[in-house]
Amino acid sequence: MTRQLLNTLYVGTEGAHARLENDTVRIELEGERLIAVPLHHLASIVLFGGCTASAALMMRCADDGRAFVLLDRNGRFRARIQGKTSGNCLLRKAHYDAHADPFATLALCRTFVAGKLQNARQVLLRGARDLDAAGRAEAAATVRLAAEAHAEGILRLPEAHTTDEVRGIEGAAAQAYFGAFDLLVTNGRTEFRFGGRSRRPPLDRANALMSFLYALWTNDCVSALEGVGLDPQFGFLHVLRPGRPALALDLVEEFRAVVLDRLALTLINRRQIDADDFEVREGGAVSLTDDGRKKVLGEYQKRKGIEVPHPLFVEKVPLGLLPHVQARLLARHLRGDLEAYPPYMP
């Protein structure tokens, strides 16, 4: 049975103070009221660095089981208030129970990969349309073939009976995707030719850019998962390894093509990033220079502020909140409030 998704109040204005007033949370800046929200609308309150909150508000959130999370200016998880009955241990138990249950794990693996493939397919189809518009019919046809491979992969998912089979379908689609990816780098920028996916280390500029964006977003997903009380290391699709945020990597999959690759392509195709924002190190490893890194980070933060439609909300959501939105949906699914986890598929 589906239940309501309650809202989250994000407080980020420098100097803002959050306090409890009766049954509402009141945000004030220099004595002026910015907003007052009845607590029954909120499942969590997130405070960014530079803001303060009263102990009374924190205690009330702890009593009510409402999450109270502190993130630093970069969105990185720093702390959360744990009350007597925070419900966190129950959520974690549900998480671990699902992980130990092969059926639940298989269902989630299928869902994560389905979201990834569907979104990758959309990116490819859009690339094909752009190529058609640029008069490059042959390239468009190649890209469409890769999109078709994704559609086929999605159709085969319900028949995959083990997680290995699901990973196999994902792997085959990824090969098709990266095989066609170079064609999406338009504008004739030879210095950004994509020579197949390479990591550890990235061997060309496009790969270096994508790896950096993936890392930023993965970090955001780790923060989001910790913010909702899930263990970022306990992944379903990605294999467990100490120190590796496998669940965050699971969560990232549905965003890779449609958020991160699209951002990389925009930066490259609109010439917002140059060849000399990168350096080549010994052994052929390519990475961003300090200046290049700052430039990409700025564009990344800007992009996170853009509001996008979300299939489950009437109002648009800032892109940067998608990890939190999806992490909350995942938590609700693991708790049994949602029958299935709905990946973000714009």
Binding site: L9, D23, A36, H40, P318, L321
Partner: protein
Amino acid sequence: MKDRLDVLVCYDVSTVTDDGARRLRRMAKACAAYGQRVQYSTFELKVTPALLERFLQRAQEIMNPQADSLRVYFLRGPREEVVQTYGRDGWTDFEAPLIV
């Protein structure tokens, strides 16, 4: 969001006595705990039936039924269709992303 009711709460508290002034303050606090003030004694609430029940119990404990009046109007339809506003409007959608 679908199982929440859009409700208009209007109260009229007699402030002839000191106790009346106190009842008025408490009624305003009770309404603010559940929704938002849109005009002097008019609040819009977006609540589940259970929350509405709790609010009504609290409101009835506060008011003096001989002197005061409380009216609850159920808005049947999406807000954009059933509410028209002119002039100053500070209504906030508490179900939209809240970033401050």
